[in-house]
Symmetry: D2
Subunit: 172 residues, 4 copies
């Protein structure tokens, strides 16, 4: 039975201390809800912190890696998916996530947010980068939420999944 | 901590009754060993049968889907990875699998075996298709094994993982 | 002998009249310089207009299509590359372009700009979207230029290619 | 106006002297017909030889590279498409080719033939590898032709394109 999969995206080596703390907490909270955490899988930055948070809370973690081998993978990833596709794998990250949480900002993260919006995915921005908030909300106001705390992201995801459920039941 | 991931590949709608039975049993045995089962994720043929076998034995199943949406996914897949890449996703299937078991034969399966050999992966053929056995053993004799029974595939995987472990320990 | 390849990216059905005019002119100017035009290849929006401009000026056009078949391809594309990968092909668009010109804005275009910056590519924004200019210049000030007219984009590309040549000669 | 694109696939460093001679001649003949040659683009083996043949005859050459940069590209490629996707790019090679000619054999070439058959593409085998001929003809008898000389491949392509034309005209 397919599980709920939530993506957490964010910078690697350029993540700030606050990004890492937010990512860790979001990972923990996702695991606590019983959802699977999906990240880019590398052993750095937001990917690593979110995966470590999820493992600390007993969760299951999937990493969609840009490389073709297990090297440079986070030890906190349970299931490494090796794409060998570099940044083209960013589209897989967002297609496979029911909701995307972006912690912090950078070029790779911006590409994931934009690809998520292109695919009509719900995106939650957890950062203090005002220009990114203005830009992405301008692109797709109905899909983008901005939050300041990890717990607020979880509340939005819960509401979204419950709406989606309702839609699915109505359709059947 | 990364888990052991074993791939089972094979035809969709053109799988034979024997292919389906073999795939189901291989899936069961993989789960019994505590390994994660990776398939192409669709709700048909070898992918579906292997996933159902693994779930019957309490295992964890990953499906790397050619589509961008959850439609046409097997209900026996726990973690759907949606690539939206069609058959290009076959390369992800084999890169992400530590060993590839091919149940039955078809054009898609042949592409997965060939991509696995290109990536220097161990491949186990579980079929009665003599011309595929001759061809693939000719391409890479040291990587290809032919078996008649699911249990023989499991024995080969165990030996391979134990060798790999030994190699890794020696390297460290 | 490899030719110079310049990418022009932009919205499909949501392109504005000014985006289309700019794309057509940029396509013409690229062809006039003897460069190959690369676009996303579809028969709509900026992709179509740029390709038509390049053909009007006697140029050569490449289209990297999201689909697996020639349907929905612009008739102004000489060489269709069929990826069957949906938006994951956006990364191929930018990797294959020596410089990326973005005409107009949308989620797909934003993903191409971000992927280009991730790959350390020079990007020229030809639009009036102030929030996109602020955001992308903030991400990578040294890689992003903003212009108001197609001819200004061509001047920047010429300077870039001539620098790159110089770098290459110095390295040898 | 989209051009006719014909793919020539084959081994890199493991190509035999006969494979290289055949690839060069097929490249020449493709260019002589006014068709675009598409290969995997690297500076080795069948890819390189076919591209050199096509350039000698004044043709246009496209290379779909596994890498993200122009390094290791054949100088005989006019239009490099940089995928950064490794062997997953093999699926793009075959989707973009109206007919696939396989010169010689190896794991990568076998994956391209199999992916081509999966996509219902016409494939011409130009090799002396009997087990590959038996295997692939068994997989898809109606799609696979075996030839001994480059000129025979060209005759088959001409007949195929002329049939396809006829089909298209009838459909309209």
């Amino acid at each position: 039975m397919p599980k709920v999969v939530i993506g957490v995206m964010g910078p690697g080596s350029e993540a700030t201390a606050i990004d890492l703390q937010n990512a860790y907490t979001v990972g923990q909270l996702i695991a606590t809800e019983g959802w699977v955490l999906l990240t880019g899988g590398r052993n750095t930055g937001v990917m690593q912190a979110a995966s470590q948070g999820a493992k600390q809370a007993g969760g299951l973690t999937v990493g969609i890696l840009p490389s073709a081998a297990r090297a440079a993978m986070s030890e906190a990833v349970d299931i490494p998916v090796l794409t060998g596709m570099g940044s083209a794998r960013n589209n897989i990250n967002v297609l496979s996530s029911q909701v995307v949480v972006a912690c912090g900002m950078g070029a790779g993260t911006a590409s994931e947010i934009a690809l998520a919006l292109k695919a009509q995915k719900k995106v939650i921005l957890l950062n203090k980068n005002a220009s990114s908030q203005t830009f992405f909300k301008g692109l797709a106001p109905e899909l983008v939420s901005v939050v300041e705390q990890p717990i607020a992201a979880i509340e939005i995801i819960k509401a979204f999944l419950s709406d989606e459920d309702h839609v699915n039941r109505t359709v059947e």
